[in-house]
C-alpha cells in the first residue's frame, strides 16, 4: 500500500537525539521540536544514546555517526546494535562524509526499513530534512543523494544507458520521495515521473514496484551489487 509518510504528523514520534557538538545538538533539538517531533532526550555520546533508547523506547533515533569516546563510528555501531535489539526502531544516521561502508551497515540492518543515512549538512534544508525524518519514522528508507551519486559512478556500464534526467529521478527515488513529491521537486508532471521511473526500472532490469521503500532498496541493492 503506497503511503506518503511526509504527510504524517510527527507529534507522535518520540525521538532520541545523539550529537556530541553542543551547538548542533541544541539546534537540532529546536528544529525537531519545531516540526512536531517530541525529543524525549538529547545526548552527547553513544553509550548515553543506548541508555536513553532503553529508557524511553522511542520511535525514532537521530544520531551522529562520529561521537566520543573514540570519535570513530560509535554512533553508527550503537544504531546498528539498537536496531538488532529493537526491530522497527527507526534510525537516521548523520555523517560528515559519505562513506559507502557506513551506509551499507545501516541499510543491511533490519532489512533497510525505517533507515536513513544523510550528510549532516542536509539539515540546512530544514523542511526537507524534517520530511525525511518523518518518512524514516514511518518505515521508509532515505539515502543521501551523494551516496547514489557515488554508487552511480561505480557502476558505469549499465547505468550509462540512463539519461541525465533518469539519473536525477533515481537520486530522488533513493531520497525516499513519492512520485508526487518527485514531480513537484523536479517541476515535472506526475505522469512524466512515472514514465521515467518505468524506464529506469526497465533499464536496470528491476521489477516495477510502487512501494517506495522496496523501490529504493531494489535500486540500492542493484547499485551495490558491484
Amino acid at each position: 500500500m503506497p503511503v506518503n509518510p511526509g504527510d504524517r504528523p510527527n507529534g507522535t514520534v518520540r525521538t532520541v537525539l545523539a550529537e556530541d557538538g553542543v551547538l548542533l545538538r541544541e539546534g537540532l533539538s529546536g528544529l525537531l521540536e519545531r516540526f512536531g517531533f517530541a525529543v524525549v532526550e538529547a545526548v552527547g555520546d553513544a553509550a548515553a544514546l543506548e541508555d536513553a533508547v532503553r529508557r524511553h523506547g522511542p520511535g525514532l533515533v537521530v544520531t551522529d555517526i562520529r561521537m566520543p569516546p573514540g570519535y570513530s563510528d560509535e554512533g553508527l555501531r550503537a544504531a546498528v546494535r539498537l536496531r538488532r535489539e529493537r526491530p522497527g526502531l527507526a534510525v537516521v544516521a548523520l555523517s560528515q562524509y559519505v562513506e559507502q561502508s557506513y551506509a551499507a551497515d545501516l541499510l543491511d540492518s533490519g532489512g533497510g526499513a525505517g533507515v536513513g543515512y544523510l550528510l549532516k549538512e542536509r539539515v540546512a534544508d530544514v523542511e526537507e530534512f524534517a520530511a525525511q525524518l518523518g518518512r524514516v519514522a514511518a518505515g521508509g528508507t532515505v539515502v543521501d543523494p551523494e551516496v547514489v551519486r557515488q554508487l552511480l559512478r561505480r557502476r558505469r556500464d549499465p547505468l550509462e544507458r540512463l539519461s541525465e534526467r533518469e539519473r536525477e529521478v533515481l537520486a530522488e527515488i533513493a531520497g525516499g520521495h513519492s512520485n508526487t513529491a518527485i514531480a513537484r521537486r523536479m517541476h515535472l508532471s506526475e505522469a512524466a515521473v512515472g514514465k521515467h521511473i518505468g524506464n529506469i526500472l526497465a533499464k536496470l532490469d528491476l521489477p516495477p514496484d510502487d512501494g517506495l521503500n522496496r523501490r529504493v532498496m531494489a535500486v540500492l541493492a542493484y547499485l551495490r551489487s558491484a
Binding site: G27, L28, R34, E99, A124
Partner: protein, 447 residues
Amino acid sequence: MGAVPDDHPRTLLQALARPGYLLSLWPLRALLYGATTPLSALLWGVPLGLLSLPWVFPAAALAGTVHGVPATPWGAVLLLALGALLLAAAGPLVALPGAALERLRVRLVDDRPLPTPHREPRRTGLAAWFATRYTEGATWRGMAVLVLTALLFLPLTGAVALLLVFCASMAAAPLLVWGSVGPVALGPWEIETLAASWIPALAGVGLLAAGAYIGGLAVAAQAELVRFMQRDRGEEALRAELTEVTRSRARLVDAFEAERRRIERDLHDGAQQRLVALSMQLGLARLDLPEGSAARERIAGAQEQAKRALEELRELVHGIHPQVLTDRGLEAALPELADRCAVPTEVRVGIDRRPPAHTEATAYFAVAEALANTAKHSGATSARVDARMEGRTLVVEVSDDGRGGAQAAEGGGLTGLADRAEAADGRILLSSPPGGPTLLRLELPCP
C-alpha cells in the same frame, strides 16, 4: 710531488722490515710491550675468567677429570647459560677499561694514533651510556682482545721470553763461567773453560738477534690485531648514524600524520559543526519570514553560501585525513577512493590484518595520488587497484590502460610519496612506457 721515502718507521711492523731494526729503539719498545703483556693478561683475564667460571665444571665433566660430579646435561646447560649471562652482563665492565689500556699499550710499538672506537652516547645519563656501550660492536671486540691476550698472547709471550732467556744466558756464558767455580750447564752443553765459552756466547748473540726479530714479530702481530679490533670503524658509526636518521625521518612522518589527524579532528569538531549549525539556523530563520520577501531571499542566498563552504570544507577535510581509513582501514577506504575517481576503477583488497596507521596512510595517499594522475594525465578508460600482503610486506599496485609516459618527477606528489615510502623503509616503483600501460607499485614493510 713524489713519494717521500719514510725514514722513520711508525710501527714495529714497518721497523722490522728495515735494516737498522736491531740498532734502533724498536726491539726495546717491543720488549717493553711484551713485558707488560702478562700484567695486562692477569689484570683483565682473571676477572673475565671468574665470570666464565661456571663453564669450567661442564667442560671438566666433559673431559672426565671431575668424578663424583653428576654430569647431568641440564646442569651443564644451566651452567653454560649462567656463564654466558655473567659474561654478557659484567664482561663489558671489565672489557671497557681493559681495552682502553690495551689501546694505550699499543702506542708503545705503534706511533699512529688509536682513538677510542666508542661512540658518544646520544643523551646524557647513565642509562644512555649503558645502552650505547652494551650495543656497540667495539665493546665486544674489546672483550675479545682481552680474551685473546689471556689465552693466546700470554702463552706466546711466555714462549718468546723463554727463548730470549736461553739466548741471553748463552750470550752471557763467558760471564757465567768466569763467575762460577764448576762447569756451567747450558742446555745440553757443559762448558768448563772460559775459552770454550766464547763459542756459545757468539751463537747466543746471533740467536738473540734472531730472537729480537721473532719476539718483535710476535709483538707486532699482537699490536696489529689489537689495532684492527679497536680502530674506529667509520662505516659502523656511519651506519648507526643512518639508522638514526631514517628513524628520525620515520618519526617525522608519524608526527606529520598525527598532526593531519589533529587538524582533521579540529575542523570536524569546530568549523564544520559551526557551519552546519549556522546553515540550520539560517534555514529556520527563513521559515519565519514571509514567502517572497526580500529578507527571505537574502537568507536563502546566505544559506547557499554556507552550503558551498560546507561542501568545500568537507572535501578539504577528507583530503587531509579520511575518517573511514582510521575507522575501517584500507579495505573500506580504497573502494571509497576509487568511487571518487573519474576513471572507472576496480579495487581488490586482500589484507588479513591492519597495518600500522602510518603505513595505511602512506598506502592510501599513494593510491589517491596515483588515481588522481590517472584521471588527469593518462586518458585511461579503466584502472585497477590491488592491495595485498606478501609475507611481511604490504604491496599496493595501481594500474591503468592509459597512454603511459608518467614520470615521478612530473607529478611532484609522487616524489613526495616516494620519500614518505622510503622513510618507512619502503619504496615506490613506477613503470610507464610511452603508449602505456602504467603500473605503480608500492611496497611497505609491515611488522
